[in-house]
């Protein structure tokens, strides 16, 4: 299991402090083993930065009617609009600069994705820990619900909820949380049951440490690796699902165009050859999802001791 001795036999005599392998260094080194994952991480960082600073770096505020000129509608990429600057990615049917719309759309998509992933992690982790510690009937009931929930197609659950609740950022997030909590609950419960049996937990119980401290300081930290992997995967799932729902006209309202809604808006013009209104937001979505998944995949490999060579 531990590779601690592996390096020792070939190591030289002088171990400078800088050469000591800390868990973080080890993690970074393992992660960087895949060049693709590093590229994914760089791309993801860039996307997050763009989303965060969208209002500062976008050429225009696509929501501000004063900045958007309907006369500039459907300009192909590279044309100069009425405001005097080049629309690198063209404009849409209302004259909005696509580059700006994409920056703002990314911001919205990531916000929805990350918020719902965090919320479902909070809900799911709590339920999973409770199930693991309560055991017995509570545990089997919770896990039965989790099984049923996970086996149902996500889009069906989202459909039922959004039909009932209507469109909106908050409602979409709620629907995503309802869909995703179960994955966290199952992951945490599984990990917690394994960790619970380990010696440090028994030692903690013998020392009469308070239960909540055991739960949060010890258990949770040891459940972190699988949680982190699930977290990245589910962020990607949340972003993709939100885009799908918005594309179907069930997710975000028209006033708040995420990437999915931008793609849907452009869809009508796609067959007519005005590809840019749909394709560029599509590429942005693609890059976002692929980069999150690349990072998630590598995390899984790094944390999975079975795949270690």
């Amino acid at each position: 299991m531990s590779d601690g001795t592996a390096g020792a036999s070939g190591a030289g005599d002088s171990l400078r402090p800088a050469d000591v392998e800390t868990p973080l260094r080890r993690f970074v080194a393992d992660f960087a083993e895949s060049r693709l994952a590093v590229v994914g991480f760089a791309l993801l960082s860039l996307i997050v930065l763009i989303a965060f600073f969208a209002p500062l770096i976008a050429p225009q505020n696509p929501y501000d009617l004063l900045e958007v000129n309907i006369l500039d509608s459907m300009l192909p990429p590279g044309e100069t609009g009425g405001a005097g600057y080049v629309h690198l990615l063209g404009t849409d049917d209302q004259g909005r600069d696509m580059l700006s719309a994409i920056f703002y759309g990314m911001r919205l998509s990531l916000t929805v994705g990350v918020t719902s992933a965090l919320l479902s992690m909070a809900v799911g982790t709590t339920i999973g820990l409770v199930a693991a510690f309560a055991g017995g009937r509570v545990d089997s009931f919770v896990m039965r619900v989790v099984d049923i929930q996970i086996s149902f197609p996500t889009i069906l659950i989202a459909l039922i909820l959004l039909v009932a609740l209507g469109r909106g950022v908050d409602r979409t997030i709620l629907a995503l949380v309802v869909i995703q909590w179960a994955y966290y609950a199952r992951t945490v419960r599984g990990a917690a049951i394994v960790e619970r049996g380990k010696e440090y937990m028994e030692a903690g119980l013998c020392l009469a440490l308070p239960r909540y401290r055991l739960l949060f300081n010890h258990l949770l930290i040891n459940c972190m690796p699988p949680l982190l992997v699930v977290f990245t995967v589910l962020i990607a799932q949340a972003v993709a699902l939100e885009a799908t729902l918005s594309f179907l006209g069930l997710g975000l309202p028209i006033t708040q165009p995420s990437l999915g809604l931008l793609i849907a808006n452009g869809y009508d013009y796609l067959l007519g050859g005005r590809y840019w209104i749909s394709v560029f937001p599509g590429v942005a979505l693609l890059l976002t999802l692929v980069s999150v998944n690349l990072v998630g995949d590598q995390l899984r490999d790094v944390f999975n001791p079975r795949l270690r060579r």
Binding site: T5, A6, S9, G10, R309
Partner: protein
Amino acid sequence: MAGRQSSPILEVERLRTHFMTRAGIVKAVDDVSFAISAGEIMGLVGESGSGKSITGLSIMRLIDVPGRIVGGRIRFRGEDLAAAPEQRMRALRGSRIAMVFQDPLMTLNPLLRVGTQMAEAITAHNREVSRTEARARSRDALGRVGIPAPEERLDAFPHQLSGGMRQRVAIATAILNEPDLIIADEPTTALDVTIQAQILHEIRKLCRQTSTAMIWITHDFAVIAGLAGSISVMYAGRIVEQGHLDDILDRPLHPYTRGLIRSVPSRNRRGRPLHQIQGSPPNLLALPGGCAFRDRCPHTDDVCNAEPDLELVRAEQAARCFHPQLEALA
């Protein structure tokens, strides 16, 4: 040491099997030579990771990428297996050379009946054999390895049999085509001691009856002690000592062999602490130059920074060591 009896059935010469991993080349088997005659049982002894299983798989030519046989010859009845085409190897596997593996719980396909898995070993090499005949031969083989009610066992699924039973099934499958050579990769390690003894007894009997040669791979001198005629001890992909079983048990030359033998519990040393070899097996990716056992050896000096060769120290007993220990074990 070879050539004492009739001409050997298998001669391995300077076999080298390497694994090209992302982290570097692992020389799992490096310059290994030995020979076995018909009816002889040779023990191949070493710690896990010493290359003994890879040696067995190399003879079967069952090395998968990233591993490859990069050098040497495997002469089986005069034919070099290292250079034989895959087609030829398939004809030899299971018919002239059979192999039995370590984990009794994993050695049979869980989805197929025992009878199916045995019969296919016959029909793969002889299409003319009818189903009933293959079944009858399978049943006989089960009987020969001491399985009661063999007819019923043929229709059983592996999970319905105990670990010992499954390992007997594997051995029965190996002897179905009366091979010239059986490679047994620690087949009794996972079994409890009484069953282990029974199986060892039956195997010895079978080899004597059919004059089948056998390579018995193990990490445990206690298992090999009553079984083998000759011994090759492997360490870090190389043979470090070679000779007759009795010679090696009484007067092991290499410090590593001595350590292995002294770590076996024994009646005449009762009450004394069991010996253990210091340190752990070396990382094959970062083998230091010179003697690979240097770091764990109590007799190391500057000479050991050079590479030792496997040299005859006594008649028919060779060791790869600059400081062979000549006195008998206490």
